[in-house]
């Protein structure tokens, strides 16, 4: 799922300050699971903004509601009339949600209330870990299901580098060395020898480095007869 964190309140408040009627719009999918931008967090953010504005003598109203998925036109559509009633929409969806709303209704003023950080999963309550970069050419079959593109700080394909110590990455003792994990998992399956093969340079053209990507599936497109 997509992981995000709320922007600092001061930053959100500054974006909202010039506007009279403000609405914080949540998204009940990924960002609700990572407790950053669901209905509850949208309400909380609105409440905090109201207090902040009151303290700073800024008038107007701050309300909130949420959309099941801000990244789908069908679900945005249901709430569009309501959103048009505000001077500013603070979307606490991920960056995809913010842009889908803007794409759907360009007349709306929409700002982000979250910083979208990564694709990952909840390891435990309150801890979310990044494990995919969406590089466009998955190598997990070579690396025992542990992604070196995401989890190695240098995205090495022939690791581990010389900075691996005690199972940790050189960047932080809190970060596991992905290549130590890959090595250990290969060893447990008797496959360390796999590492002898030199993996060639990665094709980054299918990642974001090739430019923004659009996936097209002609077989499932609907012919609207236009």
């Amino acid at each position: 799922m997509i992981i995000a964190e709320r922007k600092p309140l001061e930053e959100i408040a500054a974006m909202a300050a010039p506007y009279e009627k403000v609405c914080v719009v949540g998204c009940d999918t990924c960002v609700a699971v990572c407790m950053a931008g669901g209905r509850k967090e949208a309400e909380e953010t609105a409440a905090l903004l109201r207090i902040h504005r009151e303290k700073n003598n800024i008038g107007g109203v701050v309300e909130s509601f949420s959309i099941e998925r801000q990244c789908e036109y069908e679900m945005i559509e249901e709430h569009m009339e309501k959103m048009k009633g505000y001077d500013l929409v603070i979307s606490v969806a991920c960056g995809v949600g913010v842009q889908t709303v803007v794409d759907y209704e360009p007349s709306l003023k929409v700002v982000p209330g979250l910083n979208t950080t990564s694709f990952g999963y909840p390891v435990e309550q309150g801890v979310w870990k990044e494990n995919c970069l969406g590089c466009g050419n998955c190598v997990l079959h070579l690396t025992m299901g542990i992604c070196p593109i995401t989890r190695c700080a240098k995205s090495i394909l022939n690791g581990p580098c010389g900075g691996s110590a005690d199972g940790k990455c050189e960047i932080s003792k809190d970060v596991e060395c992905a290549w130590q994990l890959i090595h250990d998992r290969l060893a447990s399956f008797g496959r360390v020898g796999d590492l002898a093969e030199i993996q060639p340079p990665k094709d980054w053209s299918v990642s974001h480095h090739g430019g923004p990507r659009t996936s097209v599936r002609e077989d499932v497109r609907i012919d609207r007869g236009e």
């Binding site: 700080a153 240098k154 580098c161 110590a165 199972g167 993996q199």
Partner: protein, 305 residues
């Protein structure tokens, strides 16, 4: 002979080789670096020129390397994959060759978070293994990484680094072999303080005959002070210093002399280890001491290569 560099000739001679290291300055005035280079002229075969080491912005390794060539000295330019993609790396290697640089050392580079531009975007388009293989193919197959043909002749002596002190230990010899397969003709190791571990690593290297397939130069760094030792132990990626060594320095009255003694003793032991082809002295911020180390370690005068 591949590139005919002095370093290659020295290695091929079978003599115990000595290389030094110079760190370019955080500015464009390279006079001090040239002074240090001059100071080691008769004591080392070649000089590593670091490439923005510890991710700190410095004058480029190739510019400094070219300056050494003008001085009649031999640079080993370091190339890290942190700051440049494959287009820029290959272009820079061609440029270095055009300027007379004959030795290239391939590294990953310390992560950008350690340096003075921690907000920079790390490139890591290729990794150090792919860099070695790519540069070997550029030289031997006349092919760029993308498959296009390299025009005209190009030749350089290719090296890589290995850290016997990183983990997992048992993989470190596999990794050395992989670097040799990729095209490394010589290897410089991370600074050796834990000689016991280094000797265990060399045993594994000899078991596979890897020392006969590439020249292994042991990395030696003299510790200038207790603070420097502690700093390296705690803050420099990939370096381990046994507590006993730190205690020895701590107990010594003259820290600098003790630091020198430790470095010289390390070289003496390295000379005795079968398969160690030489020593790479990294006297970081203490370059002027290199001649003394070389002399006291019994490695002077240097043979003519």
């Amino acid at each position: 002979m591949i590139a005919g560099s002095k370093l290659e000739r020295a290695i091929n001679s079978g003599e115990f080789v000595v290389t030094g290291e110079l760190g370019p300055p955080k500015g464009a005035d390279i006079e001090e670096m040239k002074h240090h280079a001059e100071g080691m002229r008769n004591h080392v075969e070649a000089y590593n020129i670091t490439d923005n080491q510890t991710a700190i912005v410095r004058t480029s390794s190739i510019a400094c390397g070219a300056t050494l060539v003008q001085m009649g000295l031999e640079p080993i330019i370091q190339i890290v994959v942190r700051d440049r993609n494959r287009i820029c790396i290959q272009s820079d290697v061609l440029g270095a060759h055009a300027l007379g640089v004959k030795n290239t050392l391939c590294l990953a580079g310390d992560h950008q978070k350690f340096g003075n531009e921690p907000q920079s975007k790390g490139v890591y388009d290729i990794d150090s293994m792919q860099l070695i293989k790519g540069l070997k193919d550029m030289r031997d197959e006349k092919k760029f990484m993308g498959g296009d043909e390299v025009e005209g002749d190009i030749s350089y002596f290719l090296g890589a680094v290995e850290n016997p002190f990183a983990d997992p230990f048992e993989y470190r010899v596999d990794r050395l072999e992989k670097k040799i397969e990729a095209g490394a003709s010589f290897i410089q190791t991370q600074c050796i303080f834990d000689l016991d571990r280094f000797e265990r690593w060399m045993e594994l290297v000899r078991e596979r005959g890897l020392h006969k397939r590439c020249a292994i130069l042991g990395g030696v760094t003299p510790m200038k002070s207790l603070g420097a030792a502690r700093y390296m132990k705690n803050n420099v990626s990939g370096i381990t210093i046994p507590d006993a060594l730190v205690d020895r320095l701590k107990g010594a009255e003259k820290k600098k002399e003790e630091g020198l003694k430790i470095a010289i003793e390390t070289i003496e032991r390295l000379k005795e280890i079968e398969g160690v082809a030489g020593v790479h002295i990294m006297a970081i911020a203490w370059e002027e001491v290199v001649p003394e180390i070389v002399e006291r370690a019994g490695l002077y005068p240097r043979p003519k290569f």
